[in-house]
Subunit: 178 residues, 2 copies
Amino acid sequence: MTLNPSFANAEIVADAISPQIFRDAMSKMGAAVNIVTSDGPAGKAGFAATAVCSVTDTPPTLLVCLNRSASVFNAVMENQALCVNVLSSAHDRLSNLFGGKTPVEERFAAASWHRGISGAPVLDDAVVSFDCMVTDGMDVGTHRVLFCSVLSVSEGEGADALIYFKRGYHSVGVGAAS
Amino acid sequence: MTLNPSFANAEIVADAISPQIFRDAMSKMGAAVNIVTSDGPAGKAGFAATAVCSVTDTPPTLLVCLNRSASVFNAVMENQALCVNVLSSAHDRLSNLFGGKTPVEERFAAASWHRGISGAPVLDDAVVSFDCMVTDGMDVGTHRVLFCSVLSVSEGEGADALIYFKRGYHSVGVGAAS
């Protein structure tokens, strides 16, 4: 796209925002904690992610931002399948497992799963799960934005949600603050 | 991209997820509430949004999903500028104003703003604000995903965050549930 001429010097300004400043600021944008899983020709994979976002309901589509240097990147791309499992407030330890260096089998052994239409593991007691086919991708900087067509959803039993805000876990829901 | 042959029939399955089922499921993925503002050649605009997501810190980039039929769409595209203002728990009424049918001047009159580098209004008491230049876009279904280069960030005073979950507002932060 053609840039607005008033942004002729914007490149210089953007250079002043360091990755650390950006990450610190982003830590103040609260987000649901999800475990994104995948399975298929490249094997099972799973990671904790907050960079997940609804795109459109026509057709039902969400996106997941994934670092192209992440260990799970190639598996997700080859499997072309993923499931976004929205975590409840009871899942903080599970989130830590999937956000750390724990081997993949140990990660999955810590919870109960069933297989989705896509082949990806669906967390039995997630608040809600979106089983998806990865249909498109766009590279932006270090990351790829994966556009995912939703094949099925499975909803849990009204549990409180796990929210990540200011680098800590918080509970939101019926039993939490209003 | 070439689709995995195992998804030959996935199109049929995806058709079974109605927009309403998708929206109901998405209401269970908690999200920060933001007011996205814009100003420039096309005039001032602002709307409440939860479909905002960090993309990469190199270079600092976020994305905003916007319905191409939204009244603010043309203004944001022409201005090529927007500011994502992350709301605090004190901003629930402001969020309703920017999510409704209130005329633009009345929306902005309900809070205090200063002008960002991009020209967009920055909410004085936001939890944090990301002033951005819109650098790229990708159409997906009814929406356009706007990729935004962050020009500056301004952080507020440790306020609680406003989270939208199950179609209601919730407060998360120092004074909220852990």
